[in-house]
């Protein structure tokens, strides 16, 4: 698990989607962190998933296949 500077936050509609996505990410073996949704963004679920933006394309494909809908926020750390 490596960490780069550009991070993306994946925001979901429910905690169930967060948990489902976490399982997909774990199976891919990429870096992630479960974090609270930053105050600046609204989301129906209080938790979101932080990933390296470089892994986004890979995970986006997985999420679409599993019909998991989400919003993406790019952040610089």
């Amino acid at each position: 698990m490596t960490q780069s500077k550009d991070k993306c936050l994946l925001l979901f509609q429910s905690i169930h989607r967060v948990m489902q996505t976490e399982r997909l990410i774990v199976s891919r073996g990429v870096y992630y962190q479960i974090i609270p949704v930053p105050k600046d963004y609204s989301s129906e679920c209080g938790m979101c998933i932080e990933i390296n933006c470089s892994d986004l394309a890979l995970l986006e494909h997985d999420l679409q296949l599993n019909e998991i809908y989400f919003n993406i926020v790019k952040v610089k750390s």
Binding site: M1, I15, V18, E22, Q33, I34, I35, P36, G46, M47
Partner: protein
């Protein structure tokens, strides 16, 4: 013969490191004087010496603390790394509370939900105005510090911010994690019982 270890202007863990070095190099009849100019470092060095059963005397004059030690000169191996005694170096950064984790999940109920809440909790702590002084883990909470887990990364981040991470030794043994820990200091029931009964505010998520 005496040796002066001047730690004025130094912040933790440097006075602890210098003290440990002086004790290791000490000869039989050598007296060591550690000079420190801040109360926190003095408290940490005193704790380090007491914990290692090294007798010392302490005097304070105009905010300068002098700890006088008479080592035995038989070689010195600390019980724990000196740096681990570095507590509350930046008092304003820490609150008067510790976090006690009793399981690898937050709350009772659904296990998957509890695990995800725990991850969220650990990743929220760094953004609090006041960090906990310590995170004390026992039972399955020690697995949060296992190498290769995302929770260990979160704990390691807190550790680098100065939060002490303490793990129950019996629990580490039970989960067979002794050689597989990313972060944390192993401690025992006496220490845990002392911390829980010390009167400090305990936050148990």
């Amino acid at each position: 013969m005496s040796k002066i270890v001047d730690c004025r202007g130094l912040l933790c863990p440097q006075p602890l490191i210098n003290t440990k070095k002086a004790l290791k190099e000490a000869t039989k009849d050598e007296i060591i004087e550690i000079i420190i100019d801040n109360a926190t470092s003095c408290q940490n060095v005193s704790h380090f010496l007491s914990d290692n059963s090294i007798p010392f005397s302490l005097k304070e004059e105009n905010g300068i603390y002098t700890l006088t030690i008479s080592p035995t000169g038989e070689g010195f191996t600390p019980k724990r790394e000196a740096e681990e005694y570095c507590e509350v170096s930046f008092p304003n950064k820490f609150g008067s509370y510790i976090v006690v984790l009793t399981a690898n999940m937050m709350g009772c109920g659904n296990e998957d939900l509890g695990k995800i809440l725990m991850k969220g909790f650990l990743n929220t702590l760094p953004s609090l105005d006041k960090l906990p002084q310590e995170i004390l883990c026992y039972n399955s909470a020690v697995t949060l510090a296992a190498k290769g887990t995302d929770t260990a990364l979160s704990l390691a981040k807190l550790h680098t911010m100065g939060v002490k991470i303490t793990l129950c030794g019996t629990c580490v043994d039970f989960y067979n994690l002794k050689d597989n820990l990313e972060v944390g200091t192993i401690s025992n029931m006496l220490y845990i019982a002392e911390r829980l009964s010390s009167g400090i505010l305990i936050v148990k998520p």
